[in-house]
């Protein structure tokens, strides 16, 4: 099980690369501008990682998006980010 981080908005082709590179148990953590993907209107893009999609609390908050986050997205703070890297055997960064 790998942790993938994505720091680009869903408009970026990097999202498609990240999704294509993910295994069936891997987790995806949205950070920086990637948290735009946590909005309800974007959830169709993330159907293949349902239940395995996370977004960083601090980056949602700094963009004013915390209260707008889709219910299916698991919001984790920086300690939660650390915990995800502990649980997953490796981390892959998409940028």
């Amino acid at each position: 099980m790998l942790l993938h981080t994505l720091n680009r908005s869903p408009l970026s082709a990097v999202l498609d690369q990240a999704l294509a590179g993910m295994g069936p148990d891997d987790r995806l953590l949205l950070i920086e501008d990637g948290v735009i993907g946590a909005l309800p209107a974007q959830q169709a893009r993330f159907e293949s990682v349902a239940g395995r999609l996370y977004a960083l609390h601090e980056d949602l908050e700094s963009r004013g998006l915390l209260s707008l986050c889709a219910p299916a997205v698991r919001v984790v703070d920086i300690e939660g980010f650390v915990a995800l890297t502990e649980e997953c055997e490796r981390a892959v960064s998409w940028y």
Binding site: N7, D59, I78, F81, V82, T85, R90, W94
Partner: protein
């Protein structure tokens, strides 16, 4: 666990340096060992000794240096990426006939082999890209 951090972008260019710093602080707060922060590509600008951001903004260079000193975290700067961007310690400045150094301890200029070593030695290598 033993962690290493790879930072690939300059301060104040993208959020990468902020993210890496926040993550590294969280690691240390949780009691993890951070065997090194490796600055590569434009990330070498995080070691710019002469950085003078406005006083009401975070001073990322000082923040890395403070973290390095307080927690004995090696701050390793890719020497090849640094030299071509004008980031030289005293030894390299002398070698290249330049007046003044732009990198000082606790940052250290080092080879890319150190990044390979960190990747092999640590349980986790976390990359923060541009």
């Amino acid at each position: 666990m033993r962690y290493a951090i790879l930072l690939l972008d300059a301060p104040y260019t993208s959020q990468a340096a902020h993210s890496a710093l926040r993550f590294t602080r969280a690691l240390l707060a949780k009691g993890h060992a951070v065997d090194g922060v490796f600055f590569y590509h434009d990330g070498v600008h995080n070691a710019a000794r002469l950085a003078a951001p406005p006083q009401d903004e975070p001073h990322l260079v000082d923040a890395w240096a403070e973290l390095g000193r307080e927690h004995a975290v090696p701050l390793q700067v890719c020497i090849a990426a640094a030299l071509r961007r004008g980031l030289l310690d005293e030894q390299e400045a002398a070698r290249h006939g330049k007046q003044g150094a732009s990198v000082e301890p606790p940052f250290e200029l080092t080879g890319l082999g150190q990044l390979v070593d960190l990747g092999l030695r640590c349980d986790r290598l976390i990359t923060f890209g541009p």
